[in-house]
């Protein structure tokens, strides 16, 4: 079992952990904002797919990498507006609407891909974000490379966590977001526009999800594949529960999860095909379900999560 443990001592393992965690961190923060405001956003899987496509295509068409990030964010806002309009002022089922948004966003991405690139047999490549080592810090043994020699978009993900935590806990806006997710009627009495805050939170959160998707195509890899999001969105929903709706804990969850994912890939090589590889690939999803079971009882979820708010209705 020495080999199985040695994996933890490789700097490259920890670099992979942070890289795998980055899109999860971004999308988990996005979902967390939505849910804190009381709206479950099951559109996440499709919004990530749309962000992955739009971010990649912007760069493929000659745009700057950061323009790709921006465009991914814009498409996220658009789908956030759609999900928000249907679930907040109209108060439709957040489950059904979210699944609908996922189906729509991912099929639109695939449609656009086929339309814009009808002739390609293998996915075209772009020049993705390159690692940006921070002098001195990246020379720290074992963790230096993992934390300080990543792409700019990974740094952006960590900044996003700090920003989300700061806004949620240190600003009046954050207080309003948390309050509309707990007790919308009381907010209305305080003169807070519940609809506006929820709508804004869903749009901002969806933008982060889309950028998380774009991370896959313009930072982790260099092209767009069908089915490339592959359930990451659903895993992020589990991570929000696992993190008890707190940005810091959710970040920790994402890293833990990524560590497990990176570990199973390397363990596959160590075990050398004795165990079917599908069992390893199953682990992230099994782990997510286990995390949900462990946390479900303790978690203090937003009281008004999934409860549509209609003025004057009790």
């Amino acid at each position: 079992m020495g080999e199985a443990f040695d994996i933890f001592l490789q700097a490259s393992f920890w670099v992979a952990v942070v890289r795998i965690a980055s899109p999860l961190i971004l999308a988990t923060m996005g979902e967390l904002i939505c849910e804190r405001a009381g709206v479950l956003n099951l559109g996440i899987e499709g919004i990530m797919t749309a962000g992955a496509f739009v971010g990649w295509y912007t760069v493929y068409a000659g745009g700057d990498l950061w323009l790709g990030v921006l465009m991914a964010g814009v498409i996220g806002v658009v789908f956030g507006l759609l999900h928000g309009t249907l679930t907040v002022p109209l108060g439709l089922s957040q489950h059904v609407t979210g699944i609908g948004v996922t189906l729509l966003a991912s099929s639109l991405a695939y449609f656009s891909y086929r339309l814009l690139l009808p002739q390609v047999s293998s996915p075209p490549k772009i020049e993705p974000f390159q690692p940006l080592p921070i002098p001195f810090l990246s020379d720290i043994p074992l963790f230096g490379q993992a934390l300080f020699a990543q792409t700019p978009l990974t740094y952006f993900a960590f900044v996003a966590v700090a920003l989300v935590a700061w806004v949620l806990y240190r600003t009046p806006l954050g207080l309003a977001i948390r309050a509309v997710g707990e007790n919308p009627a009381a907010c209305e009495a305080q003169g807070i526009d519940v609809t506006l805050i929820r709508l804004g939170a869903v749009m901002a959160g969806s933008a982060l999800m889309a950028i998380g998707g774009a991370f896959l195509t313009i930072s982790a890899f260099n092209s767009f594949f069908f089915e490339m999001v592959n359930g990451r969105g659903w895993i992020c929903i589990a991570l929000v529960v696992f993190g008890s709706w707190r940005p810091g804990k959710a970040l920790l969850g994402a890293i833990l999860f990524a560590a497990f994912d990176a570990y199973q890939v390397r363990l596959q090589q160590v075990t050398g095909g004795v165990v079917p590889y599908q069992l390893f690939l199953m682990m992230p999803y099994v782990l997510s379900i286990l995390a949900l079971i462990v946390m479900a009882r303790k978690a203090s979820y937003p009281k008004a999560l999934m409860v549509p708010y209609r003025k004057g209705e009790r």
Partner: protein
């Protein structure tokens, strides 16, 4: 703006808003077709012709509708009780697994005994797959949406493992596919030389049975009561968790039948392309049918028509066949909004 319930739901609204939803969906699809540089009316014509324009086209649409009726029913039953089963895809594949485990020669029985045995086993297996998330929901409060979604990925990997392991056809030339089901386990074709098989008839029987259960039995009443207001149902003496478990068994069983029908009636064996997302499309079918079991038949044929028609259209016109997926997803969103508007009115003020 505010939104308030209307006192009496009018017939005009009940028919008008869903019609408007379909129109809005077609308009959106039309814009995309124009962006693709084609004439929307010509393209819609081609879709219609490809779906219903000939005997071949219509039979193909019914063939494609068959699994969608099963998954649509599975979703309709579950959603009625507000049990959010998004895992019909997993249940379908498990149904396929059980079909090939029992139907490729392990049970050397005659057809009249083998087929019912397989159907019972398939339904039990599918039920079991949904039972796990349902119990997690009622025991631990774990949201079943996420667990059923995650189970889809787990089950698909499990099937992939089986197809490269114990279920692998040694004569399959290396492809991950199972052996073919024996004659006694197969569903015969309805018309000689055509693809439409008796799975379609089974689907119709299932729809009528589900309608009967929902509309005419105590269980159906309890399911609707639980879906409408669980607290009130509990207060009225309904054992909510038990009703949810029964709902899960029925829903999971129905979704698994889709896998049985596809393997035993159409494909003949199990492979990883058994379903191009029939489990997810079942959600759209159920919502378009407004969760009515008989409506599911019509909605499944409608949705299947879009897919079959778009396939044949995309060969003729240069519009990607993903237009079908976009249209179906749009139809889902516009339809749920339309259903709301029949019961509520918006006050702009």
């Amino acid at each position: 703006m505010r939104i308030e319930p209307v006192d009496a739901v009018s017939w005009r609204a009940t028919l008008g808003y869903p019609a408007l939803a379909i129109l809005a969906t077609l308009a959106f699809a039309g814009v995309l077709v124009m962006l693709a540089g084609a004439n929307p009316f010509a393209v819609f014509g081609l879709v219609l012709k490809g779906a219903f324009g000939s005997q071949f086209a219509f039979l193909e649409t019914l063939t494609r509708a068959t699994p969608l009726i099963f998954t649509g029913l599975a979703v309709a039953v579950a959603f009625r009780a507000k049990l959010w089963n998004i895992g019909a895809e997993a249940q379908l594949y498990i149904g396929g697994v059980v079909t090939v485990v029992l139907g490729t020669g392990a049970l050397p029985w005659a057809g009249f005994a083998l087929k019912p045995a397989i159907i019972v086993a398939v339904m039990m297996a599918g039920a079991l797959v949904l039972l796990v998330p349902t119990l997690l929901k009622s025991r631990f409060g774990v949201d079943e949406v996420v667990t059923t979604l995650l189970l889809n990925f787990i089950v698909l990997l499990f099937v992939s493992m089986l197809l490269e392991g114990v279920l692998k056809n040694p004569m399959g030339m290396g492809w991950p596919q199972s052996r073919r089901v024996i004659e006694a386990a197969s569903l015969p074709k309805i018309l000689q030389g055509k693809r439409l098989h008796y799975g379609f008839v089974l689907a119709l029987v299932a729809a009528i049975s589900v309608w009967f259960v929902m509309a005419r039995t105590t269980l159906g009443y309890e399911m609707r009561a639980v879906g409408h207001n669980p607290q009130a149902a509990r207060f009225a003496g309904i054992r909510v968790n038990l009703v949810l478990v029964k709902t899960a068994l029925l829903s999971g069983g129905l979704a698994a039948l889709a896998g049985f029908s596809e393997v035993a009636g159409l494909k003949g064996n199990l492979s990883l392309d058994l379903s191009p997302g029939y489990g997810y499309t079942g959600i759209v079918v159920a919502m378009l049918a407004m969760l009515h079991p008989l409506g599911v038949i019509a909605a499944a044929i409608f949705v299947a028509g879009i897919f079959v028609g778009a396939d044949s259209m995309s060969r003729a016109a240069r519009v990607p066949s993903y237009i079908a997926d976009v249209t179906v997803a749009t139809a889902l969103l516009t339809m749920v909004a339309a259903i709301l508007l029949t019961r509520y009115r918006i006050r702009w003020r």
